[in-house]
Structure formats: structure tokens, C-alpha cells
Symmetry: C2
Subunit: 315 residues, 2 copies
């Protein structure tokens, strides 16, 4: 069988501070679209790759705090993606199946079937959504807001990084729940006269510090991320934590992996809302693997509007 | 009726930074131990006054974050105390009753009966304990540890300000619950190999920052206070908050006032333990109202060992 071109995005060096496009390269390899005899692995054609803030942690050599191994130098980045099965050694999957997987930043990937997150059953919605609203960012917004945030009708909700993959959904879920969504310039956070019941935290640092004195009694702060801090060798100090005492606020970190059991329930909730237009999802789509490094780097400067996706192939 | 001397501790000026003894004065007034005709107030002889970290907030002119009015200049400080009823205009109290009250730093106080927290029923234990283990600090330790901290047998517990009014009790409650109490020099916090399930937070700032990377998965941080920060015009920045995400930690502020309903249950729990010697309580007792300012100021430099009490009169 003929070899095919298989371009990859590889890491050139471990990153200190903000990542730059030049920390990555596009390299061109080849792949044979045939599984070794007796293999139970899968060959995937990658369609959409997800750019996610946590990826910065894997660009650092030291043991990262997520407990996932760092990227290997000169190897393809790993990440969440939407892919099509080309060959399958696992009877649960067959050629042509669409899957969400922990895949690699390359055109074709050979992965063990344990890295498949789930098979895509509903294809009436854009496939790219499975890297966003119908994937980990969607579940993060759902679990973080409803499970960790414990929202009540009428609560004042503030979301940082409100145009991002997760934040845009939290805002819409809050409105659906009958909450008041506070939409202000972050520079004006200090002037919320009514106070905040739920602060959905994606940013950290100075933003958190500005929000804390504005929390209401018994407020909740689900912490989904602190993207402003990930590239700083010395994180910004948060000085207003004593307001957690004065207002009896609960601040709680979470990872989406703890809520995978809610995924079917979440899809049942969100898919009808998307079909009815009651939830919309903004994507920032970049065409071509070769534009992946710029897209990924852009996350940390807030360049993206909506969920950042890289299209490797449309089908 | 003759007038009696009534010395008071008054505030000379609003405080910036660390309070000094010279921010307070002892002034000598007089009082007539007779209630006005038809009054429903009480006349108290103050026996023990409690030195508590929150009092620093009331020494600042601006609205303080606790929502309690600031001290008035040249007036007696207010605070928790153990007092004896000298005259009562309220049928619920009679001369000779011992009470815990929101009283004033003076020898005798005229207060409305609404400021009585409770009547002391059990006098087989030292009366001063009602400003500590049998008062608000005791309830803070109990509610903060058992209600906010959700301890499980075998949990690793770390307490900052572990010799203070609240901290010494949390440590003992933790051992009674079957938890492992981590007793280390704070300088060595970074080297806890086993990790921390519950950090009972009394100190804040750098101590919190050193603890955060040592938290275990699903750890809890009840925040009782952050005494290291109360005198700083610019609080220390806490930089390690992202560990709340990595370890899915819940950090929650509380005030004892939210748990007053548990007070009878708490006394039923703790009084037998004290009588059996299973809970001991260390007090740092200063004799004489005139030594009150130094005792209060000493809280913020960590001078006290155990609960800081000022004896105004023994009976």
C-alpha cells in the first residue's frame, strides 16, 4: 500500500513564558494507511483539532500539575479532536465512524482505542461542534455552572473570558436558568453595584482580584481555568481573598474529567437547545494544519473570538 | 447612690497598619450602679474580655467589610466578654447572673439585653473559658472544622495559627475525629510529602500560598481568618490559586455568626470532653484592664500563646 503524506505540528523546544509560533514547526512525514497484522489500534483521519488553554501546561518540561505527560520534543502535539476512522482493529469501531478522540496534531494518527472518547452519533450538527459545545468545553460549562455553581433563578452571574469556548456557553446557560448576566467591561468590575452571586472563573489573577470585593453573601466561584496566569513565570498575586470570609464565598476548582458521567445527560440537554436556536455557538475556525501553531498561540493573547478550532480536513 | 470609678480602654485615633499600644488610652470615668427608672437595659460588671483578631477591622474608620460599625474615637472599645449582672431591667436576667455579652472594654457597662449572647449555666469550668473554648472561638473551630471542612477519619489536617484561640481546638478536634494532624514549622510547609486534605486557614497570605501546592485531591480549605493580612495596607498576593483547579480544592470562608444555632449542640459536645481532660484549652491571661491594649496588639505579632484574655475582675 502506498505511503501518504502526513504533516505534523511538533514542538521544537520547551516553552518559558508566552508560547510563540516559532516554538512549533510543521514537519512532513509519511504514513501507510494499514494497521499492523493483529493490531487492536485505530487509524484515524483527523478532521478538527481543538485549541485548549490547558495545552500550555504540556509545553513545559517539568512535571505539569495536571498529571499528564509533557509533549515530547519533535513529536506531534496531542489534544482533543474530531476524527474519522480509516482502519479499525477494534470491533467496536468500523471504517467511516466519526469519533471524538485524544489524538495528535497531524493528518493521520495511529492510536489505541482507549483514546477514543466517544463515537459521534448525531451528525445533523456541525462536526466541529464536537470539539466545542458538544465536547469537553461544553461539558465544562455545564458541569461548572450547574453542578459547582449551584445557580438559582435571579442570581447575578459574571463570566470572565465570556467569548471563549466555555464562557460563551456559561452566559447562555445562565440566561436559560433565569439568572441576570452581568456583561461589562472588565475594567469596570469594581463598579458592580448589585454584587455577584456566581463568578465563573476562567481568567484568574487581576480579574479575580477585581471581582472578589464585588461578591455577594454566599457567592460561589467555580474555577474552570486561570488562563491569564499560565504563561507567567511569576503568577499575579491575588490580594482580596479575605472577602471570601466577609461574604462567606465558596471558591472551588474543577476539572471536566470528573464529570464525564454527565456527558449523555448534557448532550440530551444541549442538543435540542442548539437545534431550536436557543443556544448558539461561536467558533473561530482556522483552515489548515499549517495554521495550527498561530491559532494555538492566539488563545493566550485573547486573539480568538469563540471556540478556536483548526480544520485539518473537512471530511 | 455613690458613683464608682469606671476605667475604660478607648481608641485615640483610627489605625493604619499594625495597631500600637499608643493607639489606645486608659481613661477613668465614673458610673452610678443604678438603672434609670423604667429601663429594660442591664448593668454589667465585666470580668473577662476577649481579644479577637477581627477587632482590628473596627479600628479603621472606613466602613469595614464585616458590616459592624467602627469604634468611636474616645469611646470604650466593644467586644465579647464574660460579665456579671449588677442590675437588670429585663425579667429574663437577675442580679448575680453570669452572661456572655457583646460588651465594652470598661469595668462596668450599661447595655441593652439584646447584646447578651447567652446566660452561663455551667460554672464548674473556668469562667474565662466562655470567651474562648466555650464561646465564639470554640464554636468557630467546631463549625469550621466539622461543618465546612467535612473531615473524614484518616484525613491529613493542617492548621495555621495552631496555638491560637481557634487553632488549638481544631487540632484537638481533628485528632478526636481520627485525622492525622500535621505539625510542622511553617517554613517547611513546602515539604509535606503526603499532602493535605484539610487546611484550616487562620493566617492567609504567604502561609496560604505555601500550603496550596501541597493540597491533596478534593481538599478543603475552611477560611476562619487571615490574621497576617489585617494590618497590611497592601495585602500579600497569593500566587498559587491555580492549584485549586489541579487538585479540585474547595476553599470556603465562614463567619461564626452563621452557626449560632449549633451552639447548644457544640456545648453538649465539648463540655464533657473538657471535664474528662480529652480537650484542653490554653489561655494567655493578662491581669488588669490597663494591660488590655498591649494584649490586644500582641495578637497581631503572634505574641500570645493560647487564647488571649484580659481579666478585668475575678468576680
Amino acid at each position: 500500500m502506498a505511503e501518504l503524506r502526513n504533516r505534523q505540528v511538533v514542538l521544537n523546544n520547551y516553552v518559558v513564558g508566552f508560547p510563540k509560533e516559532s516554538d512549533m514547526s510543521i514537519v512532513e512525514g509519511t504514513i501507510t494507511l494499514k494497521l499492523p497484522e493483529g493490531s487492536s489500534d485505530l487509524l484515524l483521519k483527523n478532521l478538527y483539532l481543538s485549541c485548549d488553554p490547558y495545552m500550555r501546561f504540556l509545553m513545559t518540561k517539568e512535571d505539569n500539575p495536571l498529571g499528564i505527560g509533557a509533549y515530547k520534543l519533535y513529536s506531534a502535539l496531542t489534544g482533543n479532536g474530531v476524527s474519522k476512522v480509516v482502519e479499525s482493529g477494534d470491533p467496536d469501531y468500523k471504517k467511516g465512524d466519526l469519533v471524538c478522540a485524544w489524538t495528535r496534531w497531524e493528518e493521520y494518527s495511529l492510536i489505541p482505542s482507549s483514546q477514543i472518547r466517544f463515537k459521534i452519533e448525531h451528525t445533523d450538527l456541525p462536526l466541529s461542534y464536537y470539539s466545542g459545545v458538544l465536547g469537553m468545553p461544553g461539558l465544562s460549562a455545564y458541569a461548572g455552572f450547574f453542578e459547582v455553581g449551584s445557580p438559582k433563578k435571579g442570581d447575578n452571574v459574571f463570566v470572565s473570558a465570556a467569548s471563549g469556548a466555555v464562557g460563551q456557553l456559561v452566559g447562555q446557560f445562565a440566561k436559560l436558568k433565569g439568572c441576570m448576566l452581568l456583561e461589562v467591561l472588565e475594567a469596570k468590575i469594581r463598579y458592580f453595584p448589585e454584587g455577584i452571586d456566581i463568578y465563573f472563573e476562567n481568567v484568574g489573577g487581576k480579574t479575580l482580584d477585581a471581582v472578589l470585593p464585588n461578591m455577594r453573601l454566599h457567592g460561589r466561584i467555580p474555577i474552570c481555568g486561570m488562563i491569564s496566569q499560565y504563561n507567567l513565570t511569576q503568577p499575579e498575586g491575588v490580594t482580596n481573598l479575605a472577602h471570601l470570609i466577609f461574604k462567606r464565598v465558596k471558591m472551588e476548582g474543577f476539572l471536566v474529567s470528573e464529570f464525564f458521567h454527565l456527558f449523555p445527560k448534557f448532550l440530551d440537554f444541549v442538543m435540542p437547545l442548539i437545534r431550536e436556536g436557543k443556544v448558539v455557538y461561536v467558533e473561530d475556525i482556522v483552515e489548515g494544519l499549517e495554521n495550527g501553531p498561530a491559532a494555538l498561540v492566539g488563545l493566550y493573547s485573547g486573539r480568538n473570538v469563540g471556540k478556536q478550532v483548526v480544520v485539518v480536513a473537512r471530511e
